[in-house]
């Protein structure tokens, strides 16, 4: 439920370019990363953006390839808005919000070339690996697209193949190899969603802020070589954007990419160090 007073407060704050929690318009909440939160998964991570927490688990499967990509593995992304994470979520079939969010995250990963799908082929036309990227919301305080997208990337990077019995053509679940997934680290896509309220545009809203925004634009950026590339975009909500606004958001998204990129590298370094100490 949105109270008019909330909208008024948020609007007044963003018009002064200072958010209710004191942040600037293009500033993230503190981001916290914890790997290995679920040990049966091939890879897992918890990502927090302030009070928002998303857990991502990677599971692997073996299946027949699709007829139009006979030598490529497959990937499925799904998101569950767990009723535990918010009084607004209910049990039942995935809501349109969950479906859309998962599809946006899926597109950025797929289109960037981050996963080398050919290397997931076990036997041409017969058996390929499938990657399941499952996102679960633990606590919803807004900006689930960006938090989910970051969790998916980090979980993929931490994942390892399970043992595979070639004779029985079955996975030995619970037994892990040291082999990481075939990822192109330099094609890693990172996601920023811009939200619009009145004439102002800002990122990483809390649930309170997000509820009163009029629209959003998600931009997924990678930097395979020297130049930033856009791999996916999605406008959501009823707001309209001018071409100038879109161009400005595209430009900002490349700057935010740099920040997120160094955050990811630092977290991976930290995780590696911790693993060694164990």
């Amino acid at each position: 439920m949105v109270y008019k007073i909330t909208r008024k407060n948020v609007l007044e704050a963003v018009n002064k370019e200072k958010r209710l929690d004191g942040r600037g318009l293009l500033e993230h909440r503190p981001i916290e990363v914890n790997f290995g939160v679920s040990n049966k998964a091939e890879g897992s991570v918890s990502v927090k953006f302030g009070k928002t927490e998303v857990v991502c688990g990677i599971k692997m499967g073996v299946q027949e390839p699709y007829t139009d990509h006979e030598n490529e593995g497959t990937m499925t992304t799904s998101m569950e808005l767990l009723p535990l994470s918010s009084p607004d979520f209910e049990y039942g079939a995935p809501s349109i919000g969950a479906v859309e969010t998962a599809r946006i995250i899926d597109r950025g990963i797929r289109e960037s070339g981050f996963i080398e799908f050919e290397k997931l082929c076990i036997k041409d036309g017969e058996k390929v690996w499938s990657i399941f990227i499952d996102l679960a919301i633990i606590n919803d305080d807004g900006n689930l697209i960006d938090a989910g997208a970051l969790a998916a990337i980090l979980a993929l990077m931490s994942a390892r193949f399970p043992e595979y019995d070639e004779k029985k053509e079955k996975i030995k679940f619970g037994e892990f190899t040291d082999k990481k997934l075939p990822l192109n680290a330099d094609k890693m896509p990172l996601t920023t969603t811009f939200f619009k309220l009145g004439e102002k545009i800002f990122i990483d809203p809390t649930r309170e802020e997000e509820e009163v925004t009029e629209g959003r634009l998600t931009i997924e950026v990678s930097k395979p070589e020297k130049e930033e590339m856009i791999n996916a975009m999605q406008k959501g909500g009823e707001a309209v954007f001018s071409t100038e606004e879109v161009e400005k958001m595209v430009d900002e998204s490349t700057k935010i990419f740099k920040k997120l990129n160094s955050l990811v590298n630092e977290e991976l370094k930290k995780a590696k160090k911790e693993a060694k100490e164990k």
Partner: protein
């Protein structure tokens, strides 16, 4: 090999043969067919009507509901009939594309149902659907501020092209294919639909948006002409 000539011989900023027709579903309050090359979308509008069950009503404004559906035989490999994750998402983005131009504030307690069906698909189905739906809304006499026109621009290899076909969408050489469906309002020139998938240099987005805007102006003329032909 670089993509220097389009598969169907069009200029890079040229639309496919486009036609539009009003009143294809006599039962509906407004309906339209929009054909863009081999892609055909039919849209029917029912409403504004009282929204039932009553608890779904919004006492402050009307509700616009879009149902996008691809007919199972509209593509080469049959698709399972019914709701898919893809069709749910397209329904939602189409709602967002259309809502800004409908004066929903003047229609509290009501619903406008927009049903879009794709009869034949060769890329750009959501755009054709939006074009048909906008015309159907106008034909139904729904109060609107302006019209909307949509087109899929794209980057095929290193060329920004207008109105992408399936064959172009599947282009894999060079820089590959990037698909960018956009919708522009007819008066204010603002965007109400923007999606992208593929890989495009951030610096070239401006060029792509310009191409989309120009193409939408042409589509708007076709929509307007069809609407005027109705007696």
């Amino acid at each position: 090999m670089a993509y220097t000539k389009r598969f169907d011989g069009r200029k890079i900023d040229e639309l496919r043969e486009t036609s539009a027709k009003i009143g294809v579903v006599p039962n509906a309050d407004g309906s339209a067919l929009f054909k863009q090359g081999d892609t055909i979308a039919i849209a029917a509008v029912y409403g504004p009507k009282i929204l039932n069950p009553k608890h779904c009503q919004n006492p402050e404004k009307g509700v616009l509901r879009v149902h996008y559906n691809m007919l199972s035989f509209s593509v080469s490999e049959r698709i399972r009939p019914g709701l898919s994750r893809r069709s749910q998402e397209i329904s939602k983005v189409t709602e967002w594309a259309l809502s800004p131009l409908v004066l929903l504030d003047e229609l509290p307690g009501t619903v406008i149902d927009v049903h879009i069906n794709i009869l034949q698909a060769n890329a750009g189905t959501r755009c054709a659907g939006i074009n048909a739906a906008a015309m159907a809304l106008a034909a139904a006499g729904v109060p609107m501020t302006e019209m909307i026109s949509a087109v899929a621009v794209g980057k095929i290899d290193d060329k920004i092209v207008t109105d992408v076909t399936k064959e172009e969408e599947d282009y894999e050489d060079g820089e590959g294919a990037t698909d960018i469906p956009v919708a522009f309002l007819s008066n204010s020139g603002k965007l109400t639909l923007l999606q992208l998938d593929g890989r495009i240099q951030a610096k070239r987005m401006k060029e792509a948006l310009e191409a989309g805007k120009e193409a939408c102006k042409k589509i708007f003329e076709i929509q307007k002409k069809a609407l005027k032909e109705v007696e």
